[in-house]
């Protein structure tokens, strides 16, 4: 069973459908106790950092998420919230992974949001993330975002839009994808399947 945190975002259904297509049962909840006892947790998120953080505060989920020991996958905004700070709404975030989330520069000739399928290169200097088993470096994933996390020692997948940014991160039991695996065709499905197969 995968527990999807209801942080008020709108892509909860997409994520649940993606697991359903893989035959992996999931539930959507904002109940701290259920999240704490889950075998795996997904922190999705579409929307703005400030609002998502206030929802997590209001539902008393901040400490719960920070203290999780089982595999946790943040998707898009959910991944950005794992960092320390976001320029979006100038908000302190979960601080699970060191680093900051910055606005993609406008007026550089590249349209913002960064929207569409971009390639992701695995960082070869670190041991390859278990999340990307069977997926080659340079594979395409679907992105849609206006803010991005800088490169950190926990970056395991790099994508580039004007400049390089963290597309996939891993720190202990915490994983985060800036792209949307639930909307990235067979490649994204493989990543979710790998996540579903992780042992606690």
């Amino acid at each position: 069973m995968i527990t999807i945190v209801d942080s008020g975002g709108s892509n909860l259904g997409s994520v649940q459908n993606a697991f359903l297509r893989l035959g992996i049962p999931s539930e959507i909840t904002s109940d701290a106790d259920r999240i704490y006892r889950a075998s795996k947790v997904v922190l999705p998120g579409v929307g703005a950092a400030g609002r998502a953080m206030s929802v997590l505060h209001a539902r008393e989920l901040i400490q719960c998420i920070q203290g999780l020991k089982q595999p946790v996958l943040g998707i898009c905004l959910g991944m950005q919230l794992m960092f320390e700070y976001s320029e979006e709404d100038l908000v302190q975030t979960l601080a699970i992974v060191p680093g900051q989330v910055r606005q993609l520069p406008r007026g550089s000739g590249l349209p913002v949001p960064h929207l569409g399928w971009n390639s992701v290169e695995w960082v070869e200097s670190v041991s390859r993330s278990r999340l990307v088993d069977g997926i080659e470096s340079g594979a395409y994933f679907y992105f849609v975002h206006s803010f991005a996390a800088e490169l950190t020692p926990f970056t395991v997948g790099i994508s580039e839009y004007g400049h390089p940014f963290s597309a996939l991160i891993e720190k202990d039991n915490f994983f985060g994808a800036q792209f949307h695996p639930e909307r990235s065709g067979a490649t994204g499905a493989r990543l979710l399947k790998n996540f579903g197969a992780l042992e606690r």
């Binding site: 709108s10 892509n11 909860l12 259904g13 997409s14 459908n17 993606a18 359903l20 297509r21 579409v46 929307g47 703005a48 406008r106 007026g107 590249l110 349209p111 913002v112 949001p113 960064h114 929207l115 569409g116 399928w117 971009n118 390639s119 395409y140 679907y142 992105f143 849609v144 975002h145 206006s146 580039e160 839009y161 949307h180 639930e182 909307r183 990235s184 065709g185 067979a186 994204g188 499905a189």
Partner: protein, 255 residues
């Protein structure tokens, strides 16, 4: 590298995919869920669903088939049709859409764009623009899904796309009505004019039949995505072939 998007557009009326010529005389081209699955397998980068009569009939897009689509589709889905409020949009997003596209209701009440962007983020909000050349300028049209209700707005397309961006649109889909369904290629002049005025993603729509039309849209009009309906539905142009041809021309393409 970010790739250019090849987008299949399914215009839906009464639960069936239809296609007309210059927004008139629609013919039935199949079941939306079956076509959507086929397009995923073909390597489409995104699907757009327009409930084309929703605005003109004063109702919201049918949530039932959005849920059905969202269950089987594993690529991004953009949904349009009669979304007039934050609550309408929330229902459509919860049914499984990734993005919502607003057209006639945004012309009627432009604040809608800002409200949606504030609530869901700009990346969720596409503004569709139906535009036609009249007396040497480009003008917005609304309620284009039903011929008898179609009407010209007192808004120039080039002004409207700037206002839409200003208000929080995350993407513009420009439907060039004069070239729609004719198969003579996208309106490169109009697309280039819009491209020069906005710095959010731009999607070309209307007139594609052969690979060269897509190539021109990407290389001449510098659009980020190119959308087609009839040519794909009738299988005159197969997406794998199209994408390979575009890649051979040096265009960044996922295939």
């Amino acid at each position: 590298m970010l790739t250019k998007r090849v987008i299949a557009c399914l215009d839906v009326r009464d639960g069936r995919v239809v296609k007309g010529v210059q927004f008139r005389n629609h013919e039935d081209l199949g079941n939306p869920v079956e076509l959507a699955q086929w397009y995923c397998a073909q390597g489409a980068d995104e699907l757009v669903f327009y409930d084309i009569t929703a605005s003109a009939e004063d109702r919201r897009v049918d949530l039932g088939w959005i849920s059905a689509l969202a269950r089987v589709v594993d690529i991004p889905i953009c949904v349009a049709g009669g979304i007039r409020s934050v609550e309408d949009a929330r229902a459509v997003l919860h049914a499984g859409a990734d993005k919502i596209s607003v057209n006639s209701p945004a012309l009627a009440r432009p604040e809608l764009i800002s409200e949606l962007a504030r609530e869901f983020g700009v990346q969720c909000v596409t503004v569709g623009v139906d535009s036609r050349r009249v007396d040497g300028d480009f003008w917005c049209y609304r309620n284009t899904g039903i011929e008898s209700k179609m009407s010209r707005e007192n808004r120039r397309t080039l002004d409207w796309v700037c206002e839409a961006q200003e208000r929080g649109a995350g993407e513009i889909v420009l439907n060039c009505m004069d070239s729609d369904g004719v198969g003579g290629g996208y309106d490169l002049e109009q697309l280039s004019l819009v491209r020069d005025r906005i710095d959010i993603p731009l999607v070309a729509s209307g007139g594609a039949r052969v690979a060269a039309h897509f190539q021109d849209a990407f290389q001449v009009a510098r659009v980020d995505g190119a959308l087609a309906a009839g040519a794909f539905h009738r299988r005159e142009l197969l997406i794998p072939t199209l994408k390979q041809l575009l890649k051979n021309e040096g265009i960044p393409i996922r295939c």
